[in-house]
Subunit: 340 residues, 2 copies
């Protein structure tokens, strides 16, 4: 691995504040094109979040924070409406609600709001570095790791959550190979994670989501490492559809299962996974592939884009505040007590 | 359900013998186009099997049998070479080997070979009808069924194996709804199964392969019903990649798991699943779709297209000879003893 490959992830920035507008790397067009979308209002940011121009729980929280700054700059009389519109852009990721609550507490001053948005972004990057260290220390030597969806620089302020652990683990020499599920229907694994891993020179192999159990049986994987969109107070974790299935099959094969997310993803007001709203998206995402219609007209599809993995199937939840092994309500509460 | 819808599956024929050539419904182009490929030599049939123009374990056995007839008619001096070429077209489905062994025993007479190929085709249709009855009787009332890949008229001489059980179960009023996994990378579920179910007026919902566990947790599914490409002497079953994962998640949720396949799929010479060769296909099938590249250049992919479900995860294997519940080596052997 050469130095430029090792540091290339630093050049990927999904969310770029430009002083008077927000520039978003258009993740719908990657890896074919590296193009950007400029948002000049909170409404445009909300649309970009809904349309998946920007995605990944931490990144949408950061983008929403900058959306509030745009509202304060350009239409301060609509600040409350802008907050509400951003909040409803996607229902499952709690980082979105957390970032908006933080912005709301600042008040209406545009300069103060911009400082808070920058703080949210900077803190996310620092949290990712810290989680990378903490998670990598759990891996062991020469392991194969399976990940799902995209949790890298594209999904965060930089470096990544689960992909941050993978970056840190590879840099420390712990990881022999990374496997990425393609992550239907939106193909975040195929399009985004493989792209990020190749840029960093990390040995990566794409698999069909449905090949994970067969891969585990082969012995090639010792850890599944994933991100989270919302973690309930008891450790139940909502994440990209397919995560729950990976957790069941990991347990079946004695493969360890790690969730990596900043503490802003933990929603202590949500008692358990059954209280988490699961976003259903349009069936059209399943009725075609990369914009090409594949299914006969008149077909129905069910397209939940998240699922809930019960805490009992999770070996470790890694946050920047520390690691919770064998998570349950008591251990999750302890994480917040000891870190205060 | 009206009469024309009820009988519409009878109009789907994937493999049509035309007296001097074999006409195959081109399954690569469905459902967008119903086009046919005409094969005039065993080599062309072998190519059609390898390229997935025709697919589904029983259908490729039937197509291969007609390929032998073409060799006997047109190049009798190359009959042994044609048998070898057809045998190597795909490694996992044992029906292919079974049909070719049956043809080889007939000898070199073209007319006798044509009668044998027709018998193989007719027997497959009759077996599917019988399996439909036997499997439907196990379902219970008002159930939701999840299936994988395509096991219908397109994969067989007609009616289908797992899809035959679904057709019979729906006709008997046992099935409330069918869920079909899209079946990456080749999308047999999305493209073919949904198309067949809609033609029959059976309520069908497409899901991402990775949504199966979340669906099971919702309580919508009581049975997983799948086909097989090879069943070992102990009941271990090779089937489309993703089947093993479904079996693990079904057991986790108390959902029953049924394998439906003609006895020609049972390979008593293969002791267990670990002796089954798993076909690896080109990574390109995962790196894009229909000529559109979705993954960055230089990416690696692992594309096993089958996996093995251990007998211990299977509640029932349904063949035309009878049903084997909780399959193991002794019960599988008993199936062949009692049917003789």
């Amino acid at each position: 691995m050469n130095a430029s490959a090792a540091s290339s992830h630093d050049s990927i920035r999904a969310v770029l504040w430009q002083g008077d507008h927000l520039r978003l790397l258009d993740q719908r067009r990657l890896p074919a094109e590296e193009t950007y979308v400029d948002c000049r209002s909170a409404a445009e940011v909300a649309t970009a979040i809904h349309d998946l121009t920007v995605r990944g729980a931490p990144a949408i929280g950061i983008a929403a924070a900058w959306g509030v700054v745009l509202a304060a700059q350009n239409e301060p009389e609509r600040l409350d409406a802008a907050l509400a519109q951003l909040r409803s852009a996607r229902p499952t990721a709690v980082n979105l609600m957390w970032a908006l609550d933080r912005m709301k507490r600042v008040g209406a001053d545009a300069a103060a709001l911009a400082r808070e948005a920058q703080a949210i972004q900077d803190e996310d990057l620092a949290a990712n570095r810290r989680m990378g260290e903490l998670g990598a220390a759990l891996l062991g030597d020469g392991v194969g790791v399976l990940t799902h969806c995209n949790t890298g620089s594209l999904a965060t302020a930089g470096y990544g959550t689960a992909l941050g652990v993978i970056r840190a683990g590879f840099a420390a020499g712990c990881i022999a190979r990374v496997y990425a599920g393609e992550t239907r229907p939106w193909l975040q694994g195929a399009r985004l994670t493989i792209w990020e891993l190749l840029r960093d020179g990390i040995p990566a192999t794409l698999i069909a989501d449905s090949a994970a159990a067969h891969l585990m049986r082969s012995g090639a994987v010792q850890w599944v490492v994933v991100g989270a969109d919302r973690i309930a107070a008891n450790g139940d974790t909502a994440n990209k559809i397919g995560t729950y299935q990976l957790a069941i099959t990991a347990r079946h094969h004695g493969v360890k299962f790690m969730v990596v997310a900043p503490s802003s993803t933990v929603d202590m007001a949500t008692a358990s996974g059954s209280d988490i709203e699961i976003e259903l998206r349009t069936p059209d995402e399943l009725l075609g592939y990369a914009g090409q219609r594949t299914v006969v007209a008149g077909a129905q599809a069910w397209n939940p884009v998240f699922d809930v993995t019960p805490a009992a199937l999770i070996d470790a939840i890694v946050t920047e505040r520390g690691v919770v092994e064998r998570p349950d309500a008591a251990r999750m509460a302890e994480l917040f007590r000891r870190a205060r």
